[in-house]
């Protein structure tokens, strides 16, 4: 096994072989799946969606290849269904206890309790995200070897909640620290076979693009506030529309913030890829903000104009972009990885799907 010294600029190391993921999925196949899922979903009043999602994932996974072997999706619709039933029962118990139970015990005067289910749901979101990712990884295999994710969803949730709370007093400036903390926990607990990924990024590197984006966003907001002060010095009455200039200015502000966020997101993706390793393998992501922006806007139109039927196709386009952008550096064929002994949890995703935080 060769010992690879880490180079500061990935593109300069021509000694290392490079590999890409190949995404061969066709729009036609995906559209066929979308139509079938829709029809069967209507026919079964929605219950089919677990099997429909599984079918789509199976296609997306198997149409992605690495070193000529396809990824495999080993999940089943039944697992997703049972997970959803369990999650539903848990959520119902929580809502029932807080809404009705407390109401009876403490009386209707305690208005603050109305917010309790919302708070509990908010706390559950990172738990759901972590568990859903674990399920998907444990059901992903390559050449028969399974991926996986260890770690505790609760610990992840604590990190997530603490850092998210820190965004408010810091006006968002703690974002890179948050991103690094989450990436570190997630990546260091992600495994393929019996080997873990490692992430060793430092937030200071990420602050350079972040401060640029933050500054640009602050200027955009200031520009908008200034224009409002000029165009609409008095607050309009209820029912009276604001000055057209203000509305246009607001839309322009939203667009500017969106574009700035895409630019930064691409920088963050490049950062995370650059500092992730798997044994001797390293990664790089060749992704630009404008590619993300184009993907997002075009997918938005596709899904909107097809009334949701185009969602699988939008996901396929995302997978294609990811495969094209990601490069694996190193002699991947020489990596020795053994099967992991993780017992796959049977119910991983129910909570995420009920709280609507699952990706696809």
């Amino acid at each position: 096994m060769s010992i690879v010294t880490r180079e500061p600029e990935r593109s300069g190391s021509d000694r290392l072989p490079r590999h890409h993921f190949r995404q061969d999925g066709t729009g036609k196949a995906v559209f066929g799946i979308a139509v079938r899922n829709f029809a069967l979903g209507i026919l079964t009043l929605g219950i089919y969606r677990f099997w429909g999602v599984t079918r789509l994932r199976r296609y997306l996974w198997s149409s992605t290849r690495f070193l000529d072997d396809p990824l495999e999706y080993l999940g089943t619709g039944k697992e997703l269904f049972i997970g959803a039933v369990v999650a539903f029962a848990v959520l119902f118990a929580i809502v029932f206890t807080t809404q009705i139970g407390f109401l009876i015990v403490l009386g209707p005067e305690v208005e603050e309790l109305r917010a309790l289910p919302g708070l509990i749901v908010g706390v559950l979101v990172p738990v759901a995200i972590y568990r859903a990712r674990r399920y998907r990884l444990s059901r992903t295999a390559w050449r028969g070897i399974r991926a996986g994710q260890t770690g505790s969803a609760l610990k992840y949730a604590v990190i997530w909640l603490a850092w998210t709370a820190s965004l408010f007093p810091s006006f968002g400036l703690s974002w890179p620290l948050r991103a690094v903390a989450l990436a570190r926990y997630t990546m260091n607990h992600t495994m393929f076979g019996d080997r873990f990924f490692t992430f060793e990024g430092k937030a200071t590197t990420l602050y350079r693009p972040f401060l640029v984006a933050w500054g640009a966003a602050a200027m955009a907001v200031a520009a908008f506030a200034g224009s409002v002060a000029v165009l609409q010095p008095t607050v309009p009455e209820a029912g009276e529309p604001a000055a057209p200039g203000v509305i246009i200015g607001f839309l322009a502000l939203m667009l500017a913030l969106l574009l700035i966020s895409f630019w930064y997101r691409a920088a963050q993706m490049r950062f995370v890829a650059r500092h992730t390793r798997f044994g001797d393998l390293s990664f790089s992501a060749d992704i630009r903000g404008r590619q993300l922006a184009w993907l997002w806007f075009s997918n938005f139109l596709i899904v909107l104009l097809t009334l949701g039927l185009g969602l699988p196709y939008a996901l396929l386009r995302g997978a294609r972009l990811a495969a094209a952008a990601l490069t694996v550096h190193g002699d991947a064929a020489a990596i020795t990885v053994a099967q992991n002994a993780l017992t796959a949890s049977k119910t991983g995703e129910g909570l995420a799907s009920l709280l609507d935080v699952d990706a696809f």
């Binding site: 069967l40 009043l45 396809p70 959803a84 076979g193 099967q339």
Partner: protein, 349 residues
């Protein structure tokens, strides 16, 4: 037909991620997988399972080695194995029948849930403790009253109505306290809330020509409470909402909410008919003339502008009037002239 031909393939053993060039020989009972000179595996035909069936190749594993992967790109080999291996042969056809059966089962289960919830709502409602109902009703009252313009202050009117409700309750041995509220809204309506609360809107009192009509409405609402329709409806609506939310996975889906609305409305029509009959009987037992009900419905129908039957929460008014028609008997007037005037004036402050 088993052949001794050697077919090229690639093989991973599922213990490491390494992939090897291999050759496959089809024997009588099993296939032999060779990497180089060594025979690394023999898989029986009945143990073969398909992992992926792509246009370019077929990937197989065995029940005995579920993590191993054998990839065959040779079309001839794929065909030969498909003939010999039962799991591969019947794969496509069998799946369809099972899917249709599963879809049918799903529809039956969902329809069953929709039918089951209203049936279960009645016994479950009976199990709900009185304190829960009282707390829930108080809570709803506090939310509802401000929307109805608040409660009216006229003391004599309130006391007259309260006395009326006590007489009806006593005559029919109805359990639990009844709290009658008059709210300022101009709509012609009255509600029963859990825990013995009845809210009568000023619009209804204005529309009523005699105290008998108001007494009829009061008795009707008290009948709802006595038969625990209110709690039953809460349990039923919650249950149906949950079923819809789980089945469709989306609490805001349009199809779901309409379905729940239609289901809950049609059951409340039966409840309304029951409350009409019960209310008339309660009035008669208390010694009041039940004509008020028939009169009230006749005039309400004459007003016109009724909603289509299925979308209204109440059965068509004329049908209700007819149903109560045959029960007219003589009786004492519900309130004295003084009390009636006080009730009418309850919201005048």
């Amino acid at each position: 037909m088993p052949s001794e031909a050697v077919h090229p393939a690639t093989f991973s053993d599922g213990r490491t991620a390494a992939r090897h060039a291999a050759s496959v020989t089809l024997a009588d009972e099993d296939i032999a997988i060779r990497v180089g000179e060594d025979c690394v595996a023999r898989w029986r035909y009945e143990d073969l399972r398909v992992v992926d069936d792509l246009p370019t190749s077929m990937r197989l594993c065995s029940r005995t080695q579920p993590d191993a992967r054998l990839a065959l790109a040779d079309a001839e080999a794929v065909r030969a194995i498909a003939v010999l291996a039962p799991a591969l042969r019947g794969r496509r056809g069998r799946g369809h029948l099972r899917n249709w059966a599963a879809a049918l089962a799903a529809i039956v289960v969902v329809a069953g849930l929709f039918a089951l919830v209203p049936i279960l709502a009645k016994p479950i409602a009976r199990l709900v403790p009185k304190d829960w109902e009282a707390a829930w009703g108080r809570h709803n009252l506090e939310i509802l009253l401000p929307h109805l313009g608040g409660e009216c202050a006229g003391q004599e009117g309130r006391q007259a109505i309260a006395a009326l409700s006590r007489r009806v309750a006593a005559a029919n041995a109805l359990a639990g306290p009844f709290d009658i509220h008059i709210a300022r809204s101009n709509e012609i309506n009255a509600f029963a809330l859990a825990g013995g609360h009845v809210v009568i809107l000023d619009g209804l009192i204005d529309f009523a020509r005699s105290a008998d009509e108001v007494a009829a409405v009061l008795a009707h609402e008290m009948a709802h409470l006595h038969a625990r329709h209110v709690t039953e409806r809460i349990v039923r609506d919650t249950g149906l909402g949950m079923v819809v939310m789980f089945v469709t996975g989306d609490p805001t889906s349009f199809v779901g909410s309409t379905a729940v609305l239609l289901a809950s409305l049609s059951y409340s029509r039966a409840d309304e008919a029951e409350a009409d009959a019960m209310g008339a009987a309660m009035l008669a037992k208390a010694g009041f003339a039940p004509q008020g009900m028939a009169e009230f419905f006749r005039r309400l129908a004459a007003r016109g502008g009724a909603l289509p039957a299925i979308l209204s929460t109440h059965p068509p008014d004329l049908a209700r009037a007819a149903a109560v028609e045959g029960t007219t008997t003589a009786g004492t007037p519900a309130l004295t002239a003084e009390e009636w005037a006080a009730v009418k004036a309850a919201c005048d402050s």
